[in-house]
């Protein structure tokens, strides 16, 4: 019994915009299966009285005051941008032919 199917991996790849070949799909399905089986073993150990953890440190209510501070200079903002236009990030067409 596998923890994740090849179809599920293909679906996740699509959601993550990863263009995987058939060989890669086989490869990652196998690897993810090992990872998920390992996680499943931890679940077996965790009893009902142990709540799932989402943060390694048990702290709550960390806030900052509502004070505005200057952000980055434009040059820094766009330093890693592949393309800009009119002080904005330029991105490729969002809808592909079929959706448009």
């Amino acid at each position: 019994m596998t923890a994740i199917t090849r179809e599920e991996v293909a679906h996740l790849a699509k959601l993550a915009r990863l263009d995987l070949t058939a060989t890669e799909l086989d490869h990652y399905a196998e690897q993810l299966d090992v990872i998920l089986q390992s996680v499943a073993r931890i679940s077996e150990v965790a009893a009902d009285d142990i709540p799932p953890t989402s943060h390694p440190v048990p702290v709550e209510n960390v806030f900052r005051d509502d004070i505005a501070k200057p952000g980055l200079d434009r040059a820094e903002v766009f330093a890693a941008a592949p393309a800009t236009e009119a002080d904005r990030f330029r991105v490729p067409r969002i809808l592909d032919g079929e959706e448009a």
């Binding site: 959601l15 993550a16 915009r17 989402s54 943060h55 440190v57 702290v59 709550e60 209510n61 960390v62 806030f63 900052r64 005051d65 509502d66 004070i67 505005a68 501070k69 200057p70 952000g71 980055l72 434009r74 903002v77 766009f78 236009e85 009119a86 002080d87 904005r88 990030f89 330029r90 991105v91 490729p92 067409r93 969002i94 809808l95 959706e99 448009a100």
Partner: protein
């Protein structure tokens, strides 16, 4: 895109179907800084000037939550009669879209901060006002997205665009989503209930002072969910209409979607679960993308933020800061000022309630206070595109003018000229009166000279009045007011005129 433009007239649709509505309202909080970073939130700033590594989603940056955003959300929850969670977390909503540079939006998923509330709204019916309780499912926090501009193509819309431009100033501004439970049983009132709910919600936000709630600037946005129930056949599939940018559009969007879905169902078709875009110009919507399944967002607890656990002491401190509930306040003011719901709505929409209240507190008569703020002053405010409170006229100036009217130094016409001067920046009330020489002419001698001149100019009118046709006196009074440039007291002129001609009323 759907090509089905068939509709069934609303009244006819109502004979066969029962509308079920659900409303999702997004409110941008008016905090000084963003939700998870210290960037400013000023509307209309130059593109990408209010951004930093956190809201640009740069690797290694870490979010820290804005305390005021949490306080505002709890206050909203309390004002909407919600329960406030004792412990809750943020979640990542994963999706790829250029308006979200991290490729996920920090939101709340199964642990919203506020749940299970309600808001009563009033709608007009043929049988008088009816109160409808709209139940609130949840109020949660999330971050706003960047603003896209689509380039290329003829329409400036995403369809047919060659590429898009992104401004991330808005990304990370605190956004509150308020979701209703399904509202059933409102029948043909459904469009009016939807509008009344968003209107009431806007007034609550305004009273709380948590947002400027301007639909035209996008700080209040509404998505309207609608499905039709065919009695005996169960609930239908819902559509979600977006791009509803005014209170009037909320009502129109629900109305037109009822007409559209009724036609689909009448034709034996099935309503598709999809997002639709409302168009202000046509009052109709067009099909957008079909809704992604919820699990496709792969929500999981946000590991970069710690849980929020508001103590009950903190919640009670915030409850103590709640303003008077708008509907209760409206009822109180209507009775105190002797006005109806419609007259009060005019004041609310003009943003004049507080100014009228302050004017009355300064000794101005209620009807006079309303008259000035919603008349001449509102007209000028609209003309200048500013709020009433931003005009140079102040509450104490209204009180001064009213006092001068009461002691006979000014009449209504002169008072208008005084405000004209104040609005033009000529100084305060007394300075304008002095500089423009505005004062009621109360010298009987001067008035009698003017009356004699008018009588001499219109001997036929003089004869009429003498023969008992007192209503003809208006023409002479008018002429005198003209020669005195409106600076006479019309009642006084009339009195002197009749005395002069030896006629009694």
């Amino acid at each position: 895109m759907s090509t089905n433009h068939e509709t069934v007239p609303f009244d006819e649709a109502m004979t066969r179907y029962e509308p079920i509505i659900g409303l999702e309202v997004h409110v941008e909080l008016g905090t000084k800084s963003k939700m998870f970073c210290s960037c400013a939130t000023t509307f209309g700033a130059a593109p990408n000037t209010q951004v930093c590594p956190v809201c640009l989603g740069l690797p290694g940056s870490m979010p820290v939550l804005n305390r005021v955003a949490v306080e505002s959300t709890i206050r909203i929850g309390l004002a909407l009669n919600c329960e406030i969670a004792t412990w809750c977390r943020f979640a990542r909503k994963n999706y790829f879209y250029p308006d979200m540079p991290k490729d996920y939006q920090v939101s709340q998923y199964d642990e919203p901060l506020c749940t299970n509330g309600w808001l009563d709204v009033t709608v007009a019916t043929d049988d008088g006002p009816q109160v409808v309780r709209v139940e609130i499912e949840r109020v949660h926090m999330e971050e706003d997205t960047g603003k896209l501009t689509h380039a290329g193509g003829a329409t400036g819309r995403i369809h047919g665009a060659d590429y898009s431009l992104v401004d991330y100033n808005r990304a990370g501004i605190p956004l509150i989503e308020i979701v209703t439970k399904t509202v059933v049983g409102t029948g043909a009132l459904a469009p009016a209930v939807a509008r009344a709910y968003v209107t009431e919600l806007r007034d609550v936000m305004r009273a709380l002072g948590v947002s400027d709630v301007r639909m035209e600037e996008g700080s209040l946005r509404c998505d309207a969910n609608l499905s039709l129930n065919k009695p005996g056949a169960g609930w239908g599939t819902r559509s979600e209409t977006k791009n509803v940018n005014s209170l009037r559009s909320v009502e129109r969007a629900v109305h037109s979607e009822i007409e559209r879905q009724a036609a689909v169902l009448d034709g034996g078709g099935r309503v598709i679960q999809e997002t639709r875009h409302f168009h202000e110009d046509t009052g109709r919507s067009t099909s957008g993308r079909s809704k992604e399944q919820a699990e496709d967002y792969r929500y999981f607890p946000e590991p970069d933020l710690v849980p929020i656990a508001p103590s009950r002491t903190w919640v009670e401190e915030l409850r103590a800061t709640l303003p008077e509930v708008p509907s209760v306040k409206r009822a109180r003011l209507q009775s105190a000022w002797g006005i109806n719901e419609f007259e009060l709505a005019t004041l609310v929409n003009a943003g004049a309630v507080e100014l009228v209240e302050a004017s009355i507190a300064a000794g101005v008569d209620a009807s006079a206070a309303r008259k000035w703020w919603t008349g001449e002053l509102l007209r000028v405010a609209n003309e200048r595109g500013v709020e009433l409170a931003d005009l140079p006229v102040t509450v104490s100036q209204i009180a001064r003018v009213e006092a001068l009217i009461a002691d006979g130094s000014l009449n209504d016409k002169l008072a208008r000229q005084v405000f004209e001067g104040v609005l033009a920046g000529e100084g305060d009330v007394d300075m304008v009166i002095a500089q423009r020489g505005l004062a009621v002419v109360s010298d009987d001698g001067a008035l009698l000279v003017a009356i004699d001149e008018a009588l001499a100019a219109q001997p036929d009118v003089a004869e009429k009045i003498k023969s008992g046709k007192i209503q003809a006196a208006g023409a002479i009074v008018g002429a005198v007011m003209k020669t005195t440039k409106g600076q006479a007291d019309a009642a006084k002129v009339r009195e002197l005129l009749l005395e002069r001609l030896g006629v009694s009323e």
